[in-house]
């Protein structure tokens, strides 16, 4: 019953969304005014190389083929899907001739490592503290915390990150000023390398967690205050159930439900990278890669990264949909 009535239509929808998303991503850069072939050639010319016209024509033909720009859009489109199923996004234009998949493979661990950790961490911290502060909203500490968060939360991320960097890496030299690891160190599974990575990740992570947790805090506090007024919370109080139990099992447990959906959506956004973080802390990652790709009209790279994030977001939404009945027994698929 569940499989036929719910799972199969839901899976079909899942694939349809991915298909449409990737199709749109294929066509949009083709409407952009930059021509990558001309750009590459003018780049070579700008270095002062003399090219004779015959060679130029040959190069145009070669590049067009390499970039998958041969033939009509229809033909390109079919070719694009054929290659996609082999995990081949073509080669990058702006870091010619590295394959796109290689570039993504290098950037992905940094982005996922940093953003997955910070997204989950800020969700947990923000929700728990926000929940407790919402339940005890007449306490002094709760009101002070509320004021502090109200101050932190609207700070522009760029300013906040820069402030942290100046304070903790320049004025007090506690953390490295830039990079994902010390220059010249090769990735390895040794303790000292991992510690080095963590040390470099600390400031970017701190900037993301503080602002992220602040916004989860506010959302969670608001939801909790609404749940507080629910009949079942009042009933638990009438029954003399212990405060801690009411707070966690009755109030926060119920307030978490909408936040679970929001967490899934934020996790899906990870694969677009965190551009400003990467710029401020010179941190390697997908954000920078995507930014350069857009700037240089690098179709293949744009498509590689966006296709990946489309798959990630839709997959996470599907997972949450399927897992939701575990969190909320009122939801049941038949």
């Amino acid at each position: 019953m569940f499989v036929k009535r719910y799972l199969i239509p839901r899976l079909l929808q899942y694939f349809l969304v991915i298909f449409l998303g990737i199709t749109i991503v294929f066509f949009i850069p083709r409407f952009a005014p930059t021509n990558p072939v001309q750009r590459t050639i003018s780049e070579i010319r700008s270095r002062g190389t003399y090219l004779n016209p015959a060679d130029v024509e040959q190069m145009v033909a070669d590049l067009t083929r390499l970039y998958g720009l041969e033939g009509s859009w229809g033909e390109q489109y079919i070719e694009f899907w054929r290659k996609l199923f082999k995990g081949d996004f073509g080669i990058s234009f702006f870091q010619f001739p590295t394959p796109v998949i290689e570039l993504i493979k290098t950037a992905l661990p940094w982005t996922v490592g940093l953003l997955f950790t910070t997204t989950v961490l800020s969700w947990v911290i923000g929700n728990i503290i926000g929940g407790i502060a919402g339940y005890r909203n007449n306490r002094l500490w709760s009101r002070i915390l509320d004021g502090v968060v109200m101050f932190i939360r609207p700070l522009p991320y760029y300013i906040f990150a820069l402030g942290l960097l100046i304070l903790l890496a320049y004025v007090f030299r506690l953390f490295p000023i830039s990079g994902g690891a010390s220059i010249g160190r090769l990735p390895s599974f040794t303790l000292s390398y991992i510690l080095d990575v963590l040390k470099h990740a600390f400031l970017p992570a701190l900037s993301l967690v503080v602002l992220g947790a602040a916004s989860w805090f506010q959302a969670s506090k608001l939801i909790v205050q609404n749940v507080n007024a629910e009949d079942f919370v009042q009933y638990a109080q009438l029954g003399g159930i212990k405060e801690r139990k009411i707070m966690f099992k009755y109030v926060i447990r119920n307030a978490m439900l909408p936040q679970i959906t929001n967490l899934a959506l934020s996790l899906g956004q990870i694969l677009s990278g965190a551009l400003i973080t990467e710029i401020v802390f010179s941190y390697p990652g997908l954000g920078n890669l995507l930014f350069s790709a857009i700037n240089t009209g690098d179709y293949n790279l744009i498509m590689g990264i966006t296709a990946l994030s489309i798959v990630a977001i839709t997959t996470l939404v599907l997972m949450i949909d399927l897992l939701y009945p575990l969190f909320d027994p009122r939801i049941k698929y038949k």
Partner: protein
Amino acid sequence: MDNNTVLVTENIKSYYVLDVGGSKKVVKAVDDVNLTIRKNEIYGIAGESGCGKTTLMKTLYALMNPPLRFMGGKVIYYRDDQEIDILSLSKEERRKLRWEYIAYIPQGAMSIFNPVIKLKETYRDFLDSHLSGKTRDEIFEIAREHIKELGLPIKVLEAYPHQLSGGMRQRVAIALAGLLKPAVIFADEPTTALDVVVQRGVVQLLKDIQESLKNTIILVTHDMGIHANISDRMAIMYAGKIIEEAETKEIFYNPLHPYTRFLINSLPKFGDKGVRASAPGNPPSLANLPTGCPFHPRCPEKTDICTREVPELVQTGEEHKTACWLVSKGDE
């Protein structure tokens, strides 16, 4: 105080203090109420919507959340010859008193259970918070025993609240109230929003619990039929005050207050096809009470004094008290 008494209130006042655009608005929901409630009885409180019944219950249960404020008086429970002033207890003492000594069946059981946990978990939370040194399995065993004794289907414990009907949820709420054998159970409109067949089952369950625990049930409902069925003694509330109190039979056969008479006369009777008369007009706003007897604008028998002075609740017979100038004038 004889040792047959379980609860006494002295001139309790509970007002809602609202801040409306800078000016204070005071709603006198419970005003100067004196009650003496005995062990082993079902005490009914009747009255129209908005006359302060639920506020009275909340006051007796010491459940005051702003804007409701306790303005004066005393609520005393007698527990093993010990006087307990519930409003002066510490938070933790009050928490312990609840469910062990006094329990509450709130209005509208549709949404009183945590929607994301099974009912056995709700049972566990109630038991856990009041009994110490019990394992999980022992607690579930107590819950199963309790459900079985009351003749409810055992599978409700494994159900989530949304899987049960409204009547079943109400029954579970009633069952839960009797869980720790409290001396007093407050039941606030336990039959509202249920059809008459289910109402009967719910009333029977209340009665069964009272008979087996030999405790006191304070039953609030506007449904006079239910009072006639199970209340031993009852009070009629009007505009935040008790206006008549007597044994239920006495109230039905010999109502003295004109308002009570309206309530009784509006009940349908077998074989009588005449048109039922109701009290004319609407109950007064508790924020803006008329002078004198609050009922006088609707009273067909009002006299001069009714518009000027508030009548006291006085003895008008054995076990019968009335607050009406028509009755108390004779004493002057």
